[in-house]
């Protein structure tokens, strides 16, 4: 058995789990706007409080929701340092060669990191509380107008669903290949970025080949179970939105409205 990867759907019966997936996607977009709009301490605090409240109501464990942030800490550090050391703004604190540490740069670096991290957490809240098929159905609803310009919406939704399902399998595959190559003397722990990148090429090739082989087998299995492209899946939820859905959307809009006021006051 493998450990559940971050962002994977975690079944539950919380009020957030029970919301209509269409509402969750709309709420996600509204809250994403609130996250992007945050520009002051009060603004950050406000969206963090909102996300913490959703996390609490959803009953999700902290780890899978926050893990991407912890895993990507080097990425966040690089973003922060790039902004802090290269931003040519007011309030210079320290300067050496090409590096200029400024108060404005530090503020910008912090702001970018917080925005990206909160957006990641928000995305995880959506995927951890919504079954992939429900997300697919909701996406289909939003993409439906594209049918007018002959975009194969059903197929796109199916592709997304299968891609989500294959993530843990391919992670496992990559881990197996990596271990096999380490056993044969490969080194992935080099500190030099160029060496590190080069060492990953022999890892990527077999994982890609395996992915294509798996895709081929999955296509056969899908065909054997009657998949024929023009799939008419039933809607999993009632077409009518329920009171909790409307309330949830109103709460998201209220969070955004408060953020809007904080920006403009």
């Amino acid at each position: 058995m493998s450990r559940m990867p971050a962002g994977q759907y975690i079944p539950g019966r919380s009020p957030v789990h029970r919301l209509d997936a269409r509402i969750k996607i709309c709420g996600f977009l509204i809250l994403l706007a609130a996250v992007i709009g945050a520009g002051s301490w009060a603004g950050y605090l406000w969206v963090i409080l909102a996300l913490a409240a959703i996390l609490r109501i959803s009953g999700l464990p902290l780890r899978p929701v926050l893990e991407p942030f912890l895993r990507l800490w080097t990425f966040f550090l690089v973003i922060f340092l790039m902004n802090a050391l290269f931003f040519d703004g007011q309030g210079g604190i320290w300067s050496w060669w090409i590096f200029h540490l400024s108060a404005e740069g530090v503020r910008r670096g912090f702001s970018v990191v917080v925005h990206v991290a909160l957006a990641l957490v928000l995305g995880n809240l959506l995927t951890c509380t919504t079954a992939p098929m429900e997300l697919m159905e909701a996406l289909k609803v939003f993409l439906r107008p594209l049918k007018l310009i002959r975009v194969p919406v059903d197929d796109v939704a199916m592709i997304l669903s299968v891609a989500v399902q294959f993530v843990p399998t391919l992670l496992e595959e990559a881990d197996t290949v990596k271990k096999a190559q380490i056993a044969r003397g490969a080194r992935f722990e080099s500190k030099k970025l160029t060496e590190k990148a080069a060492s990953f090429i022999p890892l990527v090739v077999p994982v890609f080949i395996a992915a294509f082989r798996r895709a081929d087998e999955l296509a056969l299995a899908m065909e054997a179970r009657g998949y024929r492209g023009k799939r008419k899946s039933p809607k999993r939820k009632s077409a009518c939105l329920q009171a909790p859905d409307i309330t949830a959307l109103a709460v998201c809009a209220a969070v955004f409205a408060v953020q809007f006021l904080l920006i403009h006051i």
Binding site: A131, P132, M158, V164, P168, T169, L220, M222, R225
Partner: protein, 280 residues
């Protein structure tokens, strides 16, 4: 009554390539399976077992010969979806058969493809999970299951469509002994209790012991066919095809070469114990 032919194939030939130099993977094969029969197809890798099986639900086009499954001609394109519903298939690698990261959604996939009324889907999904002994696990993600559980979940996805023919294409090849036992137990139950026609493709002779009939394949041809006792007790035939006989059969011949004659060639460990006890 196991008399009506559920699968009836005559002179089936197939090649993956075209042109005069294309090698035939199947060479004029005559194959049948009676309704409710468990037929094990044994053979080495590359002998054409899976290629033959993929003709039964029209995953491969029939190039030469005749083949009907459940009375449906596999060449009839208008009946192809009915044929695939009638003839379910479980593949070797369970990981490559899931389309969703939630079991019940994956099982519902086939039902949705056949436009099953929405209100019937949860009931059929739960029934399929119950059949394979995974009741109450519908909310689980496939990657959190053991190998045997994954393969049984993949089987549930096929059983939800209630096929009358089930093809297991080396469905136990990637499983550990426990996983193999779990899947074989489900296959036995489906054969005995649900009366399904089962085609079990395998290269393990031990798995074929409980079949009604064994078909041995070699280089795209049927090398031998008969009851397990007729086929598996013939060590010369099996070793000639590069197949290892079941342990009790090997033991029988080892004892024979040591001058100890058992009354009959045992196929299972229980039969071997019985025969050894008789020696006293």
């Amino acid at each position: 009554m196991k008399t009506k032919k559920e699968i009836d194939g005559k002179k089936i030939s197939f090649s993956y390539l075209t042109g005069p130099k294309a090698d035939l993977v199947l060479r004029e094969i005559d194959f049948y399976a009676n309704r409710g029969e468990l037929v094990a197809v044994l053979g080495r890798n590359g002998c054409g077992k899976s290629t033959l099986a993929r003709h039964f639900n029209a995953l491969l086009p029939l190039q030469q010969g005749e083949l009907t499954v459940g009375g449906i001609d596999v060449r009839n394109q208008e009946e192809i979806w009915r044929l695939r519903r009638l003839c379910g298939m479980v593949f070797q690698n369970p990981d490559n058969q899931f389309v969703s990261s939630v079991l019940e959604e994956d099982i519902a996939f086939g039902l949705e493809n056949y436009e099953t009324p929405e209100e019937q889907i949860p009931e059929k999904t739960e029934a399929a999970l119950r059949l394979v002994g995974l009741d109450g696990m519908g909310k689980r993600a496939p990657h959190t299951l053991s190998g045997g559980q994954k393969q049984r979940a993949a089987l549930a996805g096929v059983l939800a469509l209630d096929p009358s023919v089930l093809i297991f294409d080396e469905a136990t090849a990637m499983l550990d002994p426990d996983g193999r036992r779990e899947v074989l137990a489900v296959i036995r139950r489906l054969h005995r209790e649900a009366g399904k026609t089962i085609i079990m493709i395998t290269h393990y002779a031990e798995e074929a012991v409980e079949a009604d009939r064994i078909v041995l394949m070699e280089k795209g041809r049927i090398a031998a066919s008969g009851t397990p006792r007729e086929v598996l007790a013939d060590q010369k035939l099996l070793s000639g095809l590069g197949l290892a006989p079941p342990f009790p059969v090997k033991m029988y011949y080892d004892l024979l070469s040591a001058g100890i004659q058992l009354e009959r060639c045992p196929l299972t460990t229980e039969e071997l114990v019985e025969e050894l006890c008789r020696l006293n």
